[in-house]
Symmetry: C2
Subunit: 214 residues, 2 copies
């Protein structure tokens, strides 16, 4: 369950699938704008162009709505982050490759849906502790693992010296996300592309100074 695979136009287990999507999209938009508690199911229904009863037909209630919306968003975020990591091949200059990945990872990170998801996640941690585990295991850890794998391959190719690829991956993302969190005021402000690129460059610079070949 939870996976929200939807995939290609499934015959749908029950009724209109498009309504489902519309509701989930609206739910996320409203949650994002107003926060979970403040968000009204009436509003979500209206924004989805659907009757309130329909919302309760599809999902049991507000909680399920949040969980499902999260699942969908997490899937999306995972795919995009993995695509970014996939750009880290052994061809071309190591620095340029790393910077390219860095910029793409940061772009994912700064995407409005990603930012909103993180904010909601942190906000609702006390009420829904399970969400943190799901998102972190299903997205964060996997992306980190994929990145560690790539770094290990670069290391084998003699392009890096990373005795502990998992640690290196963690620190690589740390050098990216933490400064961006600060510069975006915790996701409040839009970070201009040039500043984003500069942060990526600086992170890669420090990373290579520490882990680059001698």
């Amino acid at each position: 369950m939870s996976a929200a695979g939807t995939g290609a136009g499934e015959p749908s287990v029950r009724g209109r699938i498009d309504k489902r999507r519309a509701i989930l999209d609206a739910a996320f938009a409203v949650f994002a704008r107003e926060g979970y508690t403040q968000a009204g199911v009436d509003v979500i229904a209206a924004e989805a162009g659907v009757a309130k009863a329909t919302v309760y037909n599809h999902f049991g209630g507000k909680e399920t709505l949040l969980r499902q919306a999260f699942a969908a968003l997490a899937d999306d975020a995972l795919a995009r982050n993995l695509a970014a990591v996939d750009r880290l091949t052994e061809r071309g200059g190591t620095r340029a490759r790393l910077e390219d990945v860095a910029v793409h990872l940061l772009t994912c990170y700064c995407d409005e849906k990603s930012r909103t998801m993180r904010r909601l996640l942190v906000a609702e941690t006390p009420r829904f502790p399970a969400l943190v585990d799901i998102v972190q295991e299903q997205v964060g850890d996997r992306v980190l693992q994929a990145l560690a794998d790539r770094l290990a391959r670069l290391s084998v190719a003699g392009l890096l010296r990373t005795p502990d690829p998992a640690l290196a991956a963690e620190q690589f993302t740390a050098l990216l996300t933490a400064p961006i969190d600060r510069r975006s005021r915790l996701g409040t402000r839009r970070v201009p592309a040039t500043e984003l690129r500069a942060t990526a460059k600086a992170a890669v610079g420090t990373f290579l100074a520490a882990y680059g070949p001698r």
Copy 2:
């Protein structure tokens, strides 16, 4: 409960100052536990051992309560973080000094009040955008500035090579906080002291590999 340190018996500008403190402490505790919207003023009053009307006498309403609680917490956090940075002197081994500061900064960062403050901050960002600016300018930026100053002095003393101390400070804290955010599941899980120390050591290791004297 809610303790309320009572502080030293101040003469107090107006009447019972201890009630004020008790209310603020209780407010923070309840906000922390239930979130701003869910928190009930009745509950806060009860937890402070005070009548609801008293809360409204001291503070105008719920909003003021949140803002004041934040201000108090931010002051506290600033002092503790600056104290941690102050430990970064030029005496002794650079690595040991840096690790000492790193551990102390992380201890501040992982303190329950700090964690809760950050969580509330992120959660209520849409409703109270000003809070982010206040906290970041009054605490984050100042701590970073203080750290940059220390790093610059170490650089002058030939113990580091930091052409841009502000950037170095930002990356130093990035290497500390981001991994801890992950390991603590966004502040959900307690991080054991040994893991905390290991993270500090790893961060300093990478930092010195990049910025240490050749």
